[in-house]
């Protein structure tokens, strides 16, 4: 689990006069290590879930666990990307904070794959102020080496940034990670969160049932065809095989049965 207290302490202890950038460098590396530890913890969760899937006697619940695995994999990828970003951000020159000498005001990228660098001097560092290409396309376009904006891994001397600079630093992007960084990304927490998202009513039966009496309306008048027409969705993964061919989609009783199966997306289990 992420150590929120540690992160807050680190932020509050950040020096205001770090001329060499060394302290900031150490902090970034430390932060990256935190992210890696989170990722490792999630890997453990993935293994546990994989074990569960492997031990299931039938295939009824396997889609659920597969979904859990995908969610964890997504989160893991995000965390690892953050770690890479933090580590790359550690490569700051003594002039950190100064504008890119070639394109002043160019913002820093927070995604590694489109980082454009300009080698600075002989100290082995790069000017982070030039790390600024739009990066939201990374996951979609997969810029490769030699293409317009990708000079990552070329050992320095990278292509000079082109086009209009971002208007302001994207440091805020990483700042917003503060809320995400509070997340407990353990397998248990994510599984709990998924259950809450899908099934928790927070006690709102007091309104939908006790006040609006929509349960009575559904039982009397809402057949599955009508339910689908108003946009309700049905989770096929909880339906017994072949059931749709056997039931009457014009009967409200079928809707009630689907509700009882927790097959109607957005219908809660209480709590």
């Amino acid at each position: 689990m992420h150590d929120q207290t540690t992160a807050e302490t680190r932020d509050s202890a950040k020096p205001v006069d770090d001329q060499t950038g060394e302290v900031a460098l150490r902090e970034r590396i430390s932060s990256a290590a935190d992210h890696c530890r989170n990722a490792l913890q999630m890997l453990l969760g993935l293994r546990l879930l994989a074990d569960k899937v492997a031990s299931l006697p039938g295939n009824l619940l396997q889609p659920w666990f597969s979904q859990d695995l995908r969610i964890l994999a997504d989160s893991l990828e995000r965390r690892l990307s953050q770690a890479v970003e933090e580590l790359e951000g550690a490569w700051v020159p003594a002039s950190a904070g100064q504008a890119c000498p070639l394109l002043p005001g160019l913002a820093r990228s927070s995604t590694y794959a489109t980082v454009t660098r300009v080698r600075e001097g002989t100290n082995g560092y790069y000017d982070r102020a030039c790390e600024g290409w739009p990066d939201r396309s990374v996951s979609n376009w997969r810029y490769g080496p030699g293409q317009e904006t990708s000079t990552r891994g070329d050992g320095g001397g990278g292509r000079v940034c082109q086009g209009a600079p971002r208007a302001e630093s994207t440091a805020s992007d990483t700042a917003t990670g503060a809320e995400a960084a509070k997340d407990d990304l353990s397998a248990q927490s994510l599984a709990d969160g998924q259950q809450i998202f899908r099934f928790a009513t927070f006690g709102d039966e007091q309104f939908w049932t006790d006040t609006l009496h929509l349960n009575e309306v559904v039982e009397k008048a809402v057949d599955p065809t009508t339910a689908l027409k108003v946009g309700l969705k049905v989770d096929a993964d909880v339906l017994p095989p072949g059931i749709l061919q056997k039931v009457d989609l014009k009967s409200p009783a079928t809707t009630v049965a689907l509700l009882k199966m927790n097959a109607v997306v957005g219908r809660g289990r209480g709590g």
Binding site: P63, I71, L72, D74, E77, R78, S110, P134, R136, S139, N140, W141, A164, R166, A167, S172, D173, T176, E179, K182, D183, D184, S189, L190, D192, G193, Q194, I196, F197, R198, F199, T201, F202, D204, E205, Q206, T209, D210, T211, L212, H213, L214, N215, E216, V217, V218, V230, G231, L232, K233, V234, D235, A236, D237, L259, K260, V265, G266, R267, G270
Partner: protein, 264 residues
Amino acid sequence: MSRRFGITCALCHSTVDNSVMPGIGHRKDGWPNRDLNVGAIIALSPVVTAAQKAVYNSWGPGRYDPRYNIDGKSTPLVLPPAYGLADVKYETYTAEGPISYWNAYVAVTQMHGHGNFSDPRLGIDIRQTPDMVGPKLAALRAYQHSISAPPPPDGSFDRAVAERGKAIFDKNCASCHVGTTGTDNNTGKLHPAAETGMNADYAERTANKAYRTTPLRALWQHPPYFHDGSGKTLADVVGHYDRVRQLKLTAAQQRDLVEYLKSQ
């Protein structure tokens, strides 16, 4: 006695992949249910007045007004995606608070869950014991943050054209759609309705009275666009800002920009 039931986050912010038939398939958490006619469902209730039914039935599929029961006004919003929120600081169209703020607002004031929500800016102070909302917010946030925006399907946009569009985007759009999230709101910046050419009615009902630059997440997946769904297509969005911001983009440039947006 009939069985009690309630609703969950997934009602509006999940859909299915229609793999079995339209409306039936595997869950897609975080994908907004743009088919869901929440107003029409509420209007089925026997306790809703005729005047209220008229309002609820006016919203249409994929739209909901999360303040109608608070102030009696109706300017419905498009149901937003709940994916791609990991780096988005303020969740709503008007950026009133972080994700758990809005989760609590919706859970208590819209879903009518049993819990607490207070915001002096809005004059709301609801306290119910036991609190069945607050203890769930942390795990809920973690799960929502874990849901990535879905990438565009293979072949859904022309890469070469989109690359041309990216240059246009960088020159004309990136001062507001900043960084990885595509919003300048992570620094707290908001835009008056007049600046964006949007109808001010909804913003005027909120705490901040202004709009957030919407983060760009899986644009291919969730038309219509803008908080009120007034942009049916990405071409509408580009055309809107071409007029409002006087960008003077040529038709070809607008097409290129649309192609880029399809990749986002």
